[in-house]
Amino acid sequence: MGDAPANIFAAVSAPASRTSELSLFVLAVTGAIFFVVFGLTIVAVVRFRRRDTDDGREPPQVYGSNQLETAWTVVPVLIVLVLALTTARVIQSIQGVTRPANAIDVIVIGHQWWWELRYPGLGIVTANELHVPVSDPLAPTPTWLTLLSADVAHSFWVPRLAGKTDLIPNRVNHMWIAPTAPGVYVGQCAEYCGTQHAKMLLRVYVHPRDEFERWAQAQRQGDPQVPSELDAVVAGRRVFESNACINCHSVAGTVGNGRYGPDLTHLMSRATLAAGAAPLSPETLRAWIRDPNGIKPGAHMPAMKLTEQQIDQLVQFLLTLH
């Protein structure tokens, strides 16, 4: 679906595909009802409209009909019965699944206005761009999401993978996905969560199994390979470590271990900046550090009033965080 990359009917994962089948069934049933009832309305209006040749007499008065009333009560009852049973089965097939032993666990924590992503089994912490393995329908390796919130209510929605589940503070929610086709799937926060609700975007990368392993290997916390020969990078690291950046951001191997903002250890492995507010590039990074509100008005990162030189050095440092 090049045209509409978040089409709910272009499902590539189990909950979304089961949902899409159910949805098409419900659409067919309601569509049929629409044509019958709307058709009757049109027929009534056209057939019984008053003609120019009308004699001015009142039509015969009919007050009701028990047979008709019974008929148009029983038929909807039957339709409701069919819809309820079908829907209940699909609810069961999505919510009733127990977590298989080989599932990948991810804890998703909603923040105003970005996503914290933690893989407890793999020791990975990242943000905004979720990476998961393809799940072979014959030997499924679904991804199990535990949904939490650090502040207000958010909602996790990647339409081609699954419907929404909310992330609510002081509450633990779960959902799962089992994508069957590699690719990048987009979505975004779907519960109004304040000023930048619109720029709380999500990307899910579905990798073939071996590619996922390589990604996970590269992401495992550890020293970022800082080529310390470069003066600018060393200086940039110093700027980072001697400013409040470290209170809000973690970079493994530095003194930065803040958790208020996204983990930056592998920043450059992401394609976007600040939950999709801009593509990630040296220019946008520079603009972001100079004034986060210029890119994402209201974002909870302050403009640090650094000099242009400091910003340049910082960006040189950040660019090494692969």
């Binding site: 009534a44 008709l68 207000v152 909602s155």
Partner: protein, 555 residues
């Protein structure tokens, strides 16, 4: 010469103040009804302008017309205004005016409570907008509320909503609730105790039946909301922790409270629409309403079921499978009495001689649009489908089919139908038809199309969106539709103002109708009926006009 002129100016002035005074201190149900409706129209213009701004911002991706916070305030005000300060006063205005007239009474049961309720609602609306001036607070973070019309916790807590905008929102909704409860009590009492001789409950005009059910829903639904507002106020000012998640409070609790009100509220707003349609469709089809007892039964059934479906707004909060299934079934059940009603309206038209005057045009469009709203409601009830659709533009389209496509269309029908009674003059048919077609085209450009971006993954309440998701053209069309609707409303307002002075004289019964309000002059005298009428059937004026074939023989 100059002295004389001075005297007349002073006289005119004095008369103006006297008339204003009369209106302000009035307890007459008709004047209060008119005031409710005018007040609603004023807020309709405000809420409508907010909608136009929202649509202008969304006309293209990455548009920068409005700042994010401005946009968030606009949709919060738009929703709150339209539900509490347009919808509610409109339905109460019509109830006030019509219920006593239709049951042959001289006023509501509690005229002073009636005036009190009106002024409470009126001040509540002003309080909401006073937020613009008063909300700055200590942090300078004020201005209008930006928490959304259902104000999910904990976004409304002090930590996330500084200043006083949320407090104004809380107080204004609380006050409007006080007004609504007063009016509901009044309507129920009036219908139960003020009917004219001969009017048994089985002969009560359908409109009055529907309003009784409606008022019962107000009495059940509004107090939980008022309670929740007080709890929220306690959280914000007294250090309570009902919804304060950081201190162990529950965000989901607020959602339950809100929707225990919010779902019945949908029906509170919609039942009067059905009431108007059930009065207008028979008169313009020249036939008695088809299946009167079944319609009464259906609306009572809907009233009951609507109390047990609130959590269908919460399928995505992670409820248990059992709860999800229960609320799915309960919601689907609403479809049955709803279907019955539509069939009875079609049954009324069937075999009649349909006059396609403006009120009827709005009613016919209403049937089609209400049907669609019901069917998308079924889609939203199918829980997994709901997980995709909820909080997307699809759901926005769905409830605008209800509130605009169904309620507002029947309200317009009601305006064209009862305006002659209220003012003694007809609304202009040509302008009326122009109003109808502009609004119909605009409505479908906007809201039929709005379903699709939701299916393509577009959430609601976003101030901007990414290009390349297949949403651009759709949003452009939606915005164009909004301006067609605005043009339609402009025609309507011009029509109201012009017809007030220039409209054709109506006479007591311009539509050849059958209920009691058409038996008195237009506008009715202050005491409504010189002699309290006595009725023998549901259509007293039909009996009068057709003594050879009266209704009471069959009922």
């Amino acid at each position: 010469m100059t002295g004389e002129a001075a005297v007349t100016t002073r006289e005119v002035e004095a008369r103006f103040w006297q008339r204003l005074h009369e209106w302000i201190v009035t307890v007459d149900h008709k004047r209060l009804g008119v005031m409710y409706v005018l007040y609603a129209l004023l807020f309709l213009l405000i809420g409508g302008s907010e909608a136009l701004l929202i649509r202008l911002q969304l006309v293209a991706p990455h548009n920068t017309l409005l700042a994010p916070q401005t946009f968030n305030r606009l949709f919060t005000l738009h929703g709150t205004t339209m539900v509490f300060f347009v919808g509610m006063p409109l339905i109460f205005g019509f109830a006030n005016y019509l219920v006593p007239l239709m049951i042959g009474a001289r006023d509501m049961a509690f005229p002073r409570l009636n005036a009190f309720s009106f002024w409470m609602s009126a001040f509540a609306g002003l309080l909401l907008y006073f937020s613009f001036l008063g909300a700055e607070g200590l942090y300078g973070a004020g201005s209008a509320p930006d928490v959304g019309w259902f104000a999910y916790a904990p976004l409304t807590s002090r930590a996330f909503s500084r200043g006083h905008s949320t407090d104004y929102w809380i107080l204004s909704i609380f006050l409007s609730g006080v007004g609504s409860i007063g009016t509901a009590v009044n309507i129920i009492t009036t219908v139960l105790s003020r009917r004219c001789p001969g009017m048994t409950l089985g002969k009560l005009p359908l409109l009055c039946w529907f309003y009784v059910v409606d008022s019962v829903l107000v009495l059940v639904g509004v107090p939980p909301l008022a309670a929740a507002q007080l709890m929220l106020l306690a959280d914000r000012f007294l250090g309570a922790h009902f919804f304060d998640t950081q201190a162990g409070g529950s965000a989901v609790l607020w959602q339950h409270f809100f929707w225990i009100f919010g779902h019945p509220e949908v029906y509170i707003l919609m039942i009067p629409g059905w009431a108007f349609a059930s009065e207008i469709i028979p008169v313009f089809s020249r036939k008695a309403i088809f299946g009167y007892p079944v319609l009464v039964g259906a609306v009572i059934a809907i009233g009951f079921v609507s109390l047990s479906v609130w959590a269908h707004h919460m399928f995505a909060v992670g409820m248990s499978m059992t709860a999800n299934t229960f609320f799915m079934v309960a919601t689907l059940l609403v479809g049955i009495p709803t279907g019955i009603k539509i069939f009875n309206w079609i049954g009324t038209m069937w075999g009649g001689k349909i006059r396609l005057a403006t009120p009827m045009l709005f009613c016919i469009a209403f049937i089609g649009q209400f049907l669609i709203a019901g069917l998308t409601g079924i889609m939203l009830a199918a829980v997994p489908f709901n997980w995709q659709l909820t909080d997307s533009t699809f759901v926005v389209a769905h409830f605008h089919f209800m509130l605009v496509g169904s309620l507002l269309f029947t309200v317009f029908a009601a305006f064209y139908y009862w305006f002659p009674k209220v003012t003694g003059r007809m609304l202009d048919e040509k302008l009326g038809k122009l109003h109808f077609w502009l609004f119909l085209v605009g409505f479908h450009l906007t809201f039929t199309v709005m379903h699709i971006p939701g299916l393509l993954g577009m959430p609601r309440r976003i101030y901007t969106y990414e290009p390349g998701r297949g949403w651009e053209t759709l949003n452009l069309v939606i915005t164009i539709g909004a301006f067609f609707q605005a043009a339609g409303v402009a025609c309507f307002l011009v029509n109201l103002v012009r017809s007030l002075h220039k409209g054709k004289l109506a006479g007591p019964d311009p539509w050849d109708a059958w209920t009691l309000e058409w038996s008195t002059s237009s506008p009715p005298p202050e005491y409504n009926f010189a002699v309290v009428p006595t009725v023998r059937s549901r259509r007293p004026l039909w009996d009068l006009k057709h003594p050879e074939d009266p209704d009471w023989v069959y009922e």
